[in-house]
């Protein structure tokens, strides 16, 4: 493994290969990564972190590609992280999001990285926020993180991203009623993509109605519902405006604090688990819980003592 500080310097200087190798080291939690974190964050440039989530096939990757083209026209350099689930059994993954993004392959100002979730229950790789920090240090802004909206991943993405975009499609039509409240709750911007297909207006109306009544967090202005056609280009510039416009809202102190609270709690859980699992009495404690000698909560308290 090359010197990590060297890779960071290269990434900051605009070398794509250094950035790519740094991302691998982060994903693999390579030795030395933890020590690099302070300088990695110090090198950050404050990129806008945008999450894109929604059901498989709703057109997220195509939309991300269209948005990237729009942002490029506005002179922005775009970083994209596309997360796909790992198989819990084989640890393998298949990542096809890039297929939709190949228009940008020759553009040095668009950086695309595919990431497998590597066994995280929520479907969002635990290393994602560090990966985003590294791409930020390399000068890309915005940074878009695509995840499949399933299980807990929409909550995870909302905790990480400053602006969360939830993508639906007209086919969801009658299912719209059944859309998990979770997805609606985390949305800062809602998109009905594939607006070139029948039923899009109706789906948008249904979503707006749901949001104005029960859906959404209390005391919160309902998020805008936008119609797009990622393949035809309709509505893309309005969506880019809505995302860009949300940046300053996301950075209001209350919102920033709420995100920080969630991130800190998660990091704390990971740090505590890591420490406890490396203790000499870990295996014996697992055994004691397995044989009902001790309850897991008391056992956890003892491991933290």
């Amino acid at each position: 493994m090359a010197d990590l500080a060297e890779l960071l310097r290269g990434a900051v200087a605009g070398e794509r290969r250094s950035l790519a190798r740094l991302l691998t080291a982060i994903e693999n939690d390579a030795p030395g990564i933890r020590e690099l974190l302070p300088s990695l964050f110090a090198a950050g440039r404050g990129a806008h972190l945008v999450g894109i989530t929604g059901p498989p096939g709703s057109g997220k990757s195509t939309l991300v590609s269209a948005l990237a083209a729009e942002w490029r026209r506005r002179g922005r350099r775009v970083g994209i992280v596309a997360v796909d689930p790992s198989s819990p059994h084989t640890r393998g993954a298949i990542m096809g999001d890039r297929i939709r993004m190949m228009d940008h392959s020759a553009d040095p100002d668009v950086f695309v990285r595919s990431m497998a979730s590597r066994g995280q229950m929520g479907g969002l790789a635990a290393a994602t926020w560090v990966v985003a920090a590294a791409i930020d240090a390399a000068g890309y802004d915005p940074i878009v993180i695509e995840t499949v909206g399933a299980g807990q991943s929409e909550v995870e993405i909302a905790r990480l991203a400053e602006t969360t975009v939830v993508v639906e499609m007209p086919e969801a039509g009658d299912e719209v009623q059944a859309i998990k409240a979770g997805l609606l709750e985390v949305a800062d911007v809602l998109v009905v993509n594939k607006a070139d297909r029948p039923g899009a207006d109706r789906a948008a109306r249904q979503l707006r109605a749901m949001l104005s009544t029960a859906g959404g967090r209390v005391a919160r202005k309902p998020p805008p519902v936008l119609l797009t056609s990622a393949t035809g280009g309709e509505g893309i510039s309005a969506l880019a405006e809505a995302i860009d416009g949300h940046r300053s809202v996301a950075r209001l102190p209350d919102q920033a604090r709420a995100r920080a609270d969630g991130q800190l709690r998660r990091a704390l859980g990971e740090a505590a688990t890591r420490r406890a699992a490396s203790r000499a009495d870990w295996t014996a404690t697992v055994e004691a819980v397995a044989t009902h000698e001790i309850d897991p909560i008391t056992a956890a308290e003892r491991l933290l003592a």
């Binding site: 493994m1 794509r16 290969r17 790519a20 190798r21 991302l23 691998t24 994903e27 693999n28 939690d29 390579a30 030795p31 933890r34 790992s86 198989s87 819990p88 059994h89 084989t90 640890r91 393998g92 993954a93 298949i94 990542m95 096809g96 890039r98 297929i99 190949m102 392959s105 020759a106 950086f111 695309v112 990285r113 595919s114 497998a116 590597r118 066994g119 995280q120 229950m121 635990a126 290393a127 560090v130 990091a267 990971e270 688990t273 890591r274 699992a277």
Partner: protein
């Protein structure tokens, strides 16, 4: 940050091998490449699938950003003698010397030696099983600390 792996996750110590599967050339279907991508996923690889009609430049750009251990090129079009060495050449120009580059598809025996001389590590014929390909990748992919 990696958490303690979920209980059902087999821990082998090594992170999964990352493989980019691409289809250079102009021929229009990618059934074989997709079967290979899925098979490798089931063998525990992280597979990045980039789809049809990729130019050597696109393949190398994607491989660089994805920092893959292996590039697998699936080709049927007959243009293998120009496209495959070009991928190797571009990858080497970018300093990606340690990336394993292998090819599969219908390639005449007479060309296999030339492709290997040009830096293609191995050429898999149509009868090769996914298990064989997986084994070869495991044995020959660069491994990083």
């Amino acid at each position: 940050m990696t958490e303690t792996p979920a209980p059902e996750t087999p821990t082998t110590g090594q992170p999964p091998i990352r493989v980019l599967i691409a289809k250079p050339g102009l021929d229009g279907h990618d059934r074989g490449a997709k079967v290979l991508a899925r098979g490798l996923r089931d063998e525990g690889f992280e597979v990045i699938y980039t789809g049809l009609r990729q130019s050597p430049e696109m393949i190398v750009d994607a491989s660089e950003q994805e920092d893959v251990d292996v590039i697998g090129l699936s080709i049927l079009s007959g243009a293998h003698m120009t496209l495959l060495p070009k991928v190797v050449e571009l990858a080497r120009q970018r300093g990606m010397d340690d990336v394993l580059i292998a090819a599969g598809g219908i390639i005449p025996d007479a060309d296999v030696g030339k492709l290997k001389a040009a830096g293609i590590a191995e050429v898999f014929g149509p009868g090769t099983s996914i298990g064989q390909i997986a084994r070869y990748f495991r044995e020959h992919a660069r491994r990083r600390a």
